[in-house]
Symmetry: D3
Subunit: 224 residues, 6 copies
């Protein structure tokens, strides 16, 4: 149960990851049976980022960002850091220096159930972050944690190598081994929605498109 | 006490509604005696929308958006949907498909004491939403609710047909039957404030404009 | 212990204040030993403002903005108002009229552990505000408070004349009498970080730059 | 829209009120169609109180308890005070002096969407209070409010004279004019539950008592 | 990914479970490497209950307690129900009728990341519950969930058959397959603490017992 | 600005401290001009404790209780520990072992803007604690803090040697140098309230005792 760094993790195929990014959080979440959402308090530091990336996970002590440095070495191009503190913290674990390092290693961004700082610089650098808080509170480098172990981040289980999908709606995790079937389901969903969207845009009602009127009446809905 | 859809509701005059939109939330709130504000957690999904519209209300079960489809049929051009869950929920009741339907029917937007999703698409569609949360969490269509009944939305009583005024400051409800007198009071207030604004801009102090110095002294304020 | 207005307060040198503004909140916070941050819930009403200014403090009753008018007279060009309610409040103490007055007096902005309103107007006026809430809720002018006394604002002690540094990361207070040495420390830190940033950008790891590997091994970190 | 005291209000019959007290909050809430609950944050200051009483309502400014004194005169034996602040407040509006007055007038207790203090004394006096907070924060007597007007208290609409039912589960409001039919429905429910309770106590399953197995299978539940 | 009921789950040995109950939450949490705590908001409905039991898990829709009836059939004597809603809910899923059923089946109690009601009755029945909220809000029986699947309950992963340890400090989950070694570690810890407790009670300082003075000095602590 | 332990602090006279304990939090808070309350979230772990004691303050890192051991040596009989984390934390810094040490040194209890654990044992030991949270989450001993420096604890400034008054209503801090005059004011208040209490108990109204009717009418209150 000690502090470990798992150096070799499996990742999903990059084409699948790219496909999931295009689908977006809400669609992916539906396509995998309404599972995998991180808590609603996880918000992007700037709007309109939309990414998917393989998780390099970090279990870190509260207000101690030492393990971020350790994790940086495990990062492969296109990966995203996912940090869960072992006890709730709003401290600012991540700022412009670490973002510089992350981008130099080809990292895609950061998902952190804690705080982040240097918001203006991160926005200018186009380094997307989804966090629980924006807070300058400094951290120390005193206590070990682990890298690439399963973590519970903002209420969701994230295994190293799982695919994180993140956009303006929030963050969703997709199991690595289910990624391609979730992508297929998401694409099917999108195709089907396009037809529905056209009918709705033409003024048809969901009541008719989805054939709801009989069932509503059976349940006892009364029009007065 | 069953599930009902009230099909015919009264609405305020469209000119009055348009007038209230111009006045904005803070002025309207003051003009009607500091009543009618929805809770401060109701925030717009994108800045700078400013609208007023007649409420089509929805009382819905938690994480069940069936009644949104029912309500859509009751919408008249210029109306706004106002959804209050019967038990607190952050689930994402409303997204781009329903927004497509809403706009096809001429709806003005959505006010929801729960969650919303597809933020980027809604922003691009210019479909304004004021919500408690942004969250992708999917909903079901299993349990009935009611449409066009009085609801308590984010701490405020909203009757169907009441005028919802919403902008970057939040949301305020105006009773339908008081709408024209509130508009008159709001315009009077605006006119009066323009004069005050000019004097303040010229460097005069509120202390003098509002003649506060004597009363402050009587209350015991000491300058040291 | 009565209601007082302290009319003469000391301020830091304007060159020092301007220097602190350039350094930004996160750097200043670190440079003074990780002290002085206001709570993470203090957020700017619009992004990308970055200022530093001398605090004119206000201790005000909940939902009563009378003392704001009193404080306005004590404002000198470049000062910022810092309001702490005596009991928690989200009410909208400050809006476009008071902002007009503040700018006419040369004030730099407002920091308020309560609510603010007229967000759109304040944004257009470029009047920066950091607040706990955006809320239209009106206030009264009935009960006295004090101006230019020490206050606890969002969890931090602020003395009149202390330097408030505020940007997208939040708000930090610097003791007036420590302002020049904090500025010096902040500039040293920035200079040092530029070198580190260059090395990180070139792909070096923090693990090596900060020489962490030995200490991590001593603490027992295991690579598997 | 000014400050008013409504002196004459209707009340439900005392036998009906007493009957509702015996039924308790959860049963009454169910019996009236799952309506009328105040927010879950409304908690009793000591356990095992169980009452029902007619509401004398108070709309009060934040941290200003002046109207409590005004309301005390309107209290009839058996009534309960229901206070809703016009803007959120945790201040301690009510303590042992006001409780002494309340009991001298035959009042049954207090329901307050704000703070209360002197908890130990109130407990010793057996003066039940349901509140949002326990907080000593003092209040002023500066700004008017209203007595016996409709208020929204902890998310529920309360009209003067409505019956408040309160116990360890929280607080529920029953419309005065529906009180006797709600009592009848509650008693029917209790009678029915006694039979169910006996069967459950004997080891029968709800699955069988409520005949759920077929519908579960139809919905698609799979046993593995 | 559909709705399933897993009928056969493994459980830890009853002697091990009983041993963990004696050790209590804080000790067990430390003994397993500071893992496994549910969120601090999970509180007992009455003080001084202290139990350990095998988890029968429930993944349930918000405000829908249908699956509780399904789970009841899967309960074996000594088991505890662990319910996690698929979307946050404070609704009262569990009350005295279900508690009667639970006790008739030999169930040990309930852990629920949502609401509970009939507090007085549950307390009289000595049916311990740890919950997020006390709230009467009724639930429906409309939507399926699953029984005996892994759930994330109050931020912790719980597998069916894991041992739940719960007392006045909160709730901790122990992996079924680690239960005996965690018990051994907990007992070792308790034995060791007894010695330390005696020395502390005699007035010795932790500074000396744990030999901290040198390390404090090395870190730079200054006595002034 | 480093980590320091201030070894010699001034304390108020023990007779004054004992007198303040008898007066209780709400009275003391009023007697010193409604200042000094800690946040309403600071609650006793068991009811009916009522104490006053000199503060030995601790500024500690989040989830690191090392400084508690350091502070224990600075404790004199009758003192109380007051811990403020440098960044918000719910971790359980204090449990039965530290309580044993505290009581062996004659300490009166603990006030902590964070978590506490071993609630049952602390209750049995009659070791009163006022805390923000009850949580088993373990802490480390890695990072220095300071002892007997001014801290902001739950929103209030506490200097070492200040008198902490705590009971079921919460916690209030009294400046050491003002303690005797606050005690005198509190006793005056109590004496005055006894007369008022007798009149209220006899059925007189506050409206008459405090002579409020004229002022209410002047403000515009209308009886209808």
């Amino acid at each position: 149960m000690g502090a470990v760094v798992v150096q070799h993790i499996e990742r999903a195929e990059s084409a699948v990851i790219a496909g999931l990014a295009e689908c977006g959080v809400s669609t992916v979440h539906e396509a995998q049976g309404r599972r995998g959402l991180l808590a609603a308090y996880m918000r992007p530091i700037y709007p309109a980022a939309r990414i998917a990336a393989s998780a390099v996970t970090i279990s870190a002590p509260p207000a101690d960002n030492w393990m971020l440095h350790v994790a940086m070495e495990q990062l492969q191009p296109g990966d995203i850091l996912v940090l869960a503190p072992t006890s709730a913290s709003d401290a600012g674990y991540f700022g412009d220096l670490l973002a510089t390092s992350l981008q130099a290693r080809g990292g895609a961004g950061m998902i952190i159930d804690a705080g982040v700082r240097d918001i203006r610089e991160l926005t200018e650098m186009k380094c997307p972050v989804w966090s629980k808080a924006i807070f300058s509170q400094g951290t120390v480098k005193e206590t070990l944690g682990s890298v690439n172990v399963p973590v519970i981040c903002a209420g969701a289980l994230v295994n190293p190598g799982d695919v994180m999908v993140a956009d303006d709606d929030g963050v969703c995790v997709v199991r690595r081994e289910e990624a391609d079937q979730v992508l297929a389901a998401a694409r099917t969903r999108i195709a089907k929605e396009q037809d529905t969207r056209a009918r709705l845009a033409a003024g048809e009602l969901g009541l008719d498109i989805y054939d709801m009127r009989v069932r509503l009446a059976e349940k006892g809905l009364k029009y007065v």
